[in-house]
Each structure stands twice: as C-alpha cells, then as structure tokens.
Symmetry: C2
Subunit: 210 residues, 2 copies
Amino acid sequence: MTIDGRIARGDRTRAAVLDAAVALATEAGLDGLSLGQLANSLGVSKSGLFAHWRSKEELQLATIDRAREQWAELVVTPALRAPRGVRRLWALHEARLAFYQAAVLPGGCFFASVEFEYKARPGVVRDRIAEVLRDWTALVERLAAEAVAAGELRADVAPRQLAYEFEAHGMTAVMRSRLLAPESTYPLARRALLDRLHALCPDPTLLPED
Amino acid sequence: MTIDGRIARGDRTRAAVLDAAVALATEAGLDGLSLGQLANSLGVSKSGLFAHWRSKEELQLATIDRAREQWAELVVTPALRAPRGVRRLWALHEARLAFYQAAVLPGGCFFASVEFEYKARPGVVRDRIAEVLRDWTALVERLAAEAVAAGELRADVAPRQLAYEFEAHGMTAVMRSRLLAPESTYPLARRALLDRLHALCPDPTLLPED
DNA sequence: GGGATAAAAGTACGACCGGTCGGCTGGTTT
DNA sequence: AAACCAGCCGACCGGTCGTACTTTTATCCC
C-alpha cells in the first residue's frame, strides 16, 4: 500500500502554505495578509492556493488551526512535562516566553496579533479565534486549579483570577518586546508572574528564586 | 477680529474626520481603515480628505495624535485629580477601565489595537506609536515612583516592574472584554491590580477594599 | 459688486485585491 | 497505451485601493 504521490505533494504544499501564512500573519495580520503576497513568498501562483482552499476565509480558518497546532506542539506539550502543580504553571509561562524570544514567528505570537485584529470584527474568523482563546484560558485555569488542589497554592486562590494575570503578563510581553525593547521586556514578564506565584505558594522551593 | 469661516469649517471637518478615524481604527485597524470607507461614513468625498492630508500616512499620523489627545483628556487628566501617590496610580487604572467599559471607542482602545497591528511593521507610523507608548509607560513609572517616594508603596518596589504589570492588566482587559465576556473581564482586571497594590501598600486605607 | 482664497467635489488612473476559468503536467489506475 | 486524476498555472474578471489633476462652491477682503 503506497501513498499516492500526488496527494502527498498536495499535503506538503498545504503545510508549507499554512506555515508561511501563520508567520506572515504575525506581521501583516490575518486579514492584511493578501493571497498574492502569500503566493509570491512561496513561489507558487495565486490560483494554486485556490486549489486547496476555496476562499480566503477558508484559508484563514485553516491558518488558525495550524497556529493552534504549532502552539500546542512548541509551548503546551513541553510545559506539560513539568510535574503537575505550580511548577507546571510556571513551566508554561517560561515555555511561552521562550517561544516569543526565540522568534519562531517574526511578530512573536500569532494569537496575540489576531485577537486584537478581530476583537471587534464579527464573523466566522472571529468566532474561531475566540474559541481558541477560550480553550487556552480553560487550560491555564485548570493548571491553576490543580496547583491549588495539590496544596501548592493558597486555598483562597481563584483560578480564573490567576489565569487572567498569567495571560496578561504573557501577552504584554510579546507586544512590548516587538515595539520597544526585547531584552528588557522578558525579565519584567518573568518576574511579574514569578513574584505573584511566590506570594501565593507556601513552599518556595518549588519555584526558582529569580 | 472675526474668525475666518472657511478655516473654521476646515477645522471642524478635520476634527470630525479624525474622531471618526480613531473610532474606526479600533475596529478595522489603522491600516485596514480605507479612505473610501472613512469618507463615506462621514458623508464627504474621498478627494475631500486629500484637501487636509496629502497622503494616507499623513492622516494616520494625525489620527495617532488625535487618539493621544483623547486619551489624555478622558483618562489621564481626570486621574491626575486624585492625590499624588498610590491613589493616583489606582485612579488611572480605574479611569482606563471606565473608558473601555463606556465603549467610547467601539474596539475599546485605539492604542491597544494599533500597537499589535504595527508591532512588526517598520515605518514612520510604527515609530510614532512606539513613541506614544514610551511616553505612556514613562508616565505610569513616574506615578509609581512618586508613590514609593511618598512612602505609600514599599521601598523595594521597582517602578518599571510595577508599570509593566499595570499595563498588562489594562491591555488584557480591553482585548478580553471584546473577544470574550465584557461583564466578567473588568472585575478581573480591577482585582488584579488592586491585590497587587494592596500587597505593596503599607496603609490599606488608601485603597478601596474591593 | 469683484477678485482672491480655502474647502470640497469631480474625474481619472494605475496598482492590486479576491476570485474564476480553461488547460497543462505528471503520477495512478486499468 | 489509454483514461483518469489531483496539483498547479497564466490569463483574466469586476471591484476597490491610494493618489493625482481639475473644477466647483463657499467665504473673505477690498
């Protein structure tokens, strides 16, 4: 049973296009990204794109899905290797900052970009983005709740509140690091959450000192 | 000495255009905003816009300046009426959240939108945005430093660090309130900074309890 | 009244947008 | 070898973009 070479080629193209789209969208935005530019930057023709996605919107949705996969693969999964509890929460913050700092994507973060781009633009694309954000928030809340349940965070910690602060410190980092100074931003983002967790965590040995 | 009616009319038009541009940019972005749409939504002709600004870029810069004025007028100035120190810092946070919640701008915050839009797009527009952000950050840092100097915040508070967290809690609020749930977001943003300030402020009577 | 002047509209243009269509290419199946 | 198929391309469509040039309209000064 051999794989159909034509379909394999199509899959390769699709993957390459989506990876480029994710990266470009962090610079020009998901809507600002034009099909002509995207095709050019990949050395394919515009009509070649329409062979895989019937409209720009369909490609945008596929791009969002690809970005979510990438995020899961490069940020979430590595962080989940840390032991459950406050250390896992901290690992997620560090994995995220490392992802930004490594400049995997030129604009830093796909979702940070498109969330602001679509926050006031009703439609399917916005709905999909909101769904990803909800899932991500739920994950962070769950990790926080687990840390509380394990007794590693004070019992009066509200997971939802902590998740909000977690997200705030991370998202601000990606914007500031691109718009102002990268080298001075990441330490601030790191310390912001670390101080917060230290204040809530009875056992200081679970977290790095600085 | 009477005012030239022709110039007065021009000023009125310019102001109306810029106000509309600021508002629309929070939805469509500063670049996504097209001159045709802008002209249509104001009932003027596209070419009428070029009587006042010679290019789109020039209008974008003017829009940024106008947004800064609006921010100063509706957020900064009212907050500065609070007494110097930690109360002023808190007043600034609340004034900002009130501004977002009142939906003065449909997308919530002009600068939050354009900062993410231009974070990875070199050019004059980006430079201007970065300058505004630097000034704003300097203001918050100054207020934090004043609170420390007044003995209202612990002496080991780093103003730069606190200013980062201040900004993070505010900016995340505007995105979340638009993309997810407005009613549940603002309390989180409020509490995030309030808890932080309470932890750093020896005199609990200077801040609201909740 | 009659220029002078500023604001605004009208018109036109080239570039690019998202999208369609017919056809070529090369691997797969029979 | 023939029929078929998915991937991909060049040419092209109507529409909108930002921008330039010219013309009309409203106001001011003499």
